[in-house]
Amino acid sequence: MAQTSVETGHEVVIEIGGIPIALHTSDPEFVDILSARFSDYFKAGMTPEFTFDVDLVPPGMFDVDADAEVWLEDGQWRMERGDFRATWDPATRRGLIRQSPNPYSIDSVLRICHTLVLAHSGGFLLHASSGVRNGKAYLFSGLSEAGKTTMARLAPPDVELLTDEASYVRKIGSQYLAYGTPFAGEFGAPGKNISAPIAAVYLLAKGPENRITPVEPAEAIRRLMRNILFFAHDAELVRLVFDACCAFVATVPVYQLTFFPDQRVWERIG
C-alpha cells in the first residue's frame, strides 16, 4: 500500500530479498502500475535501505533501441537503457530514475540495483527458476529455452515458486538463501515472497529421460558465471561477482539435471 509523502506525493517501499527500496513519485497512476506488478512485495511503514525519486517523462524520450549500460562515474552508479535513465549514489543511498509510466523500466532498474547491492555481500541474481519444497530451495538454472519456465510450470502443488526467471541469492552468515522475486519471465506471475536455504542448484538440459549428475566445481563456476545477471562495466564488481560465485559453489552442490519435460522430473527434487 502506498504511503503519502509530504515532499513528493507518494512513497512505495518494495522489499525484494529482504532489502527495502523506496520509490517516490508524484503520480498516483504510477503507484497503481507499481501495485499491479509488485504488490506482493510492498512493505508499508518499513524504513528503506535506498530511496529513488521517480521522474516520469513521456514515452520515447530516450534512444529506445539502446541496450542497458551500467557504470560507475564520480562515485555514482549510472544506469541507462532505451527506456530509462537512472543514477544511484551508494554513499547517500539515494537515486533518481527517469522513465515513462510503465512497469518494465522500473523492473529493470530494480534488477540492476539489486545486482549492485548483492555483489558487495556475496550474493547475486541468477538466471534460474526456483521453488521451495519441504523448507529447502532448489534452483533450476539455464539461459533462454533451457527449461526454467518449464520446471516452474511442472512444479507440483507442494512446491512454492520463488521465480521462473531470476533467482535471488543472498549469503546470510554461512549459508545461502533464495528469495522470491517479482521478476517474472514467460510464466508471467511473481514469485512467492518467501525465502529458504538453498539445497541445490540444477543446471538444466532437456533430454529423453531424467538424470541428475554432479558437476565439478570448476565447471559449475564456468556455467553459473554465464547465468549470473550482471550489467555493470566495472572491474571491482566483476571480481566481487566471481568471488561470490566461487564461494557459492564451495558451499552449495551443483548438478546437471537432464530432464524430460513432464511432472516426473519433480520426483527427483527434494
Binding site: E216, I221, V238, R239, F242, D243
Partner: protein, 98 residues
C-alpha cells in the same frame, strides 16, 4: 629473447581461483573466463613477477610432472604466449613489481 628468460606475473585485471588442480581465471575487463590445467596452474601460481619462467619450469613443473625439461619449456613458452596475448599474464625482461 624467449619467454623462458623473462619474468611473468599475473595481470592486476583478473580474478582467479584454484580449484583442486585446475585454475579458473576471469578477466575483469571483459568477463572472459579461462581454465588452466594442472601444469598451467603451477606456472600461474608461481607467476609472482620475481621468478624467471625458466626457473618455474625447472623447479616446479619438471619436479611435479612427468615431462622432459625440453617439452616443459616449449609448452610453457606457448602457454605464456597465449595468456599474455589475452592480457591476463604480464611478461617482462625485468622483475615485475605489483
Amino acid at each position: 629473447m624467449p619467454f623462458a628468460d623473462k619474468y611473468v606475473a599475473k595481470a592486476t585485471t583478473i580474478a582467479s581461483r584454484l580449484l583442486g588442480e585446475e585454475t579458473i581465471i576471469m578477466s575483469t575487463l571483459d568477463s572472459t573466463l579461462f581454465s588452466l590445467n594442472p601444469t598451467g596452474s603451477v606456472i600461474w601460481e608461481n607467476a609472482d613477477g620475481q621468478t624467471l619462467l625458466s626457473r618455474i619450469v625447472d623447479e616446479k613443473v619438471c619436479t611435479e610432472f612427468d615431462i622432459t625439461p625440453e617439452q616443459a619449456r616449449a609448452d610453457a613458452e606457448e602457454f605464456v604466449g597465449q595468456l599474455a596475448e589475452h592480457g591476463i599474464l604480464v611478461v617482462s625482461d625485468q622483475p615485475i613489481l605489483q
